[in-house]
Symmetry: C2
Amino acid sequence: MRSSRNGPGNGSDVLVVGGGIIGLVTAWRATQRGLDVVLVDPEPGGGAAQVAAGMLAAVTELHYGEQTLLALNVESARRYPAFAAELGEASGLDTGYRACGTLAVALDSDDRAHLRELHALQVRCGLESEWLSGRDCRRLEPMLAPGARGGLRVDGDHQIDPRRLAKALVAACTRAGVRFTHGWAERLSVVRERAAGVVLADGTALAADQVVLAAGSLSGRLAGVPAELLPPVRPVKGQVLRLSVPSAYAPFLSRTVRALVRGSDVYLVPRENGELVVGATSEELGWDTTVTAGGVYQLLRDAHELVPGITELPLTETRAGLRPASPDNAPLLGPTALPGLLLATGHYRNGVLLTPVTGDVMAHVLATGELPDEARPFTPRRFTSAPRELTTA
Amino acid sequence: MRSSRNGPGNGSDVLVVGGGIIGLVTAWRATQRGLDVVLVDPEPGGGAAQVAAGMLAAVTELHYGEQTLLALNVESARRYPAFAAELGEASGLDTGYRACGTLAVALDSDDRAHLRELHALQVRCGLESEWLSGRDCRRLEPMLAPGARGGLRVDGDHQIDPRRLAKALVAACTRAGVRFTHGWAERLSVVRERAAGVVLADGTALAADQVVLAAGSLSGRLAGVPAELLPPVRPVKGQVLRLSVPSAYAPFLSRTVRALVRGSDVYLVPRENGELVVGATSEELGWDTTVTAGGVYQLLRDAHELVPGITELPLTETRAGLRPASPDNAPLLGPTALPGLLLATGHYRNGVLLTPVTGDVMAHVLATGELPDEARPFTPRRFTSAPRELTTA
């Protein structure tokens, strides 16, 4: 079923704009379906995954009113072990997937009330989550602050190293035959009211039967996309620190430890190689990716309150990235009202978690034209203003 | 008076071990006296000056019991304008010398009592320092925390950019004819009870009439130096942050602003190019130069307490260096009991401040054999245990 265009020609079955983990997994899975795929990105494997902590926190990141998203998150978490194993095999690289579980901690009585409510919601949603006393939290993680007032033990919320994930996806794509074009996609080509490819910043035109816009927070900026179809994604800045646990202190933490401190999420994600990721701020500042004194201060202050012993650890990196947020915090997956143009963007805080299901969903719709059931609620058409579209959806 | 060894030969009048600012200024000034100088360092211009903030704080850093050191500090501060001008001329480079003054602030009543005592001591020592109310402090520096309880305005404590200073000294040395040998000095050669040169790590032997040990905190580690003459210097770690003031916020601060916060010194040194240096921790941890979560946290917390608006500023660099501390916090300058071996080390917190006077003193003693009056109290012989030496000194 591979297109006859495969080979020296310019055209392809599928053109993916964006080489972050979402674009890469889309390209990889589509190629596995026999489609001929070109991926356009100046630096494939870059993007927000270079900054993200890699929590797979379907259960601990549950929010009121996001039960629809929860189903997709839980489904993607369920697919993760097999996905990581298959990707490891296909790429020959370790993805850093670690089934370590998560402990969400309350540091004062307000936090405790908040976590109690979250726990009740988790139970109502049928999720596995165990309430622990402060003493039991500290028994599980001895480095925790003595003041911990209780917490939630979520043994199903794991982690992966997003940098390794991105690298493995690039390798798997390469081995599978995805063709990489290093450049900036500047404009969507529309021919007879159908997406027909893109034009790069250097003027090169690339033709394709289907175009997937998977450019993270930049997805709303591709010229040539009809204004009403531009995905409503905006960048939400996150500053993240990387610490290092010297072997003398190991194991410093044995699972992801997180808390809400004065209204800000802070989490510590311990990797097996000794890296300890501390994240993340959440700032609506447009395209700014500056690491600020205040961002680093807030993270160190909150992490120190949660795990005082971090003060001894080397601080090895400070960095900021941009989460692609949508109006309802859920991704935009699948066809748009413009034939040939599909979206895979708006994953916000859940890009790493949703990578497996996004790959499956996008490959399915690219190969068959049908959006799988689990992805129906995430059609981009939910944001288009045309009333007829909404009523017929 | 230049030695006949100048030229293709190996020997020199003077061999300086260490290419930090102290070694460089010694080499430059000695060359100006007509001496033929070789300087040995793997990377001249490196060392603690790459980390230091560059405060020239003779008056604000006055401590009880250090009035002898005060005289040397004040003398070096007095020489700084002419020194910076001459060095700028000789090197063709800007040293970043800035006559901006300093404001030392009290944030609570304990700080206030402490600053009041410092002010009284300064006045007794005949130094210029003016007591200001909290309101007057904020009038001078509007970014100061509203809680400032008073402060000392010291218009004579200026700053220089130590990285530019080091670069200018390398250039001035090169232009003056100092010969650089890039390598590690491993062992002092002693011939007939006289220092005669050094042997490098690669086995190269360098001969010289006089050897100056100016290797900062490493000065106590040169093999071949008789044990009782090894300078008693130890490394004191300092972590320092560099922030950047975007033009929209400028002028953020117009002078150095400092405070004692919970027993730790914190200072903010604003450069004309928009760099804002925040320092420094003080840690006795041997040779460790790791940037730690705790060090960065302490600096940001204290700086934030002093100038809350720093949170908006980009954090551009975190780094740690080692101050060469001596038992009495004062430098070791001049001849040792081993003929031909001189010291210029142990400058601790005052290396940048003491650069001009150190250059003058060392060049004088190298050229004439006599330690100038202002340097007599800083002879290395004050730490040697031989009682006869002490009584005849």
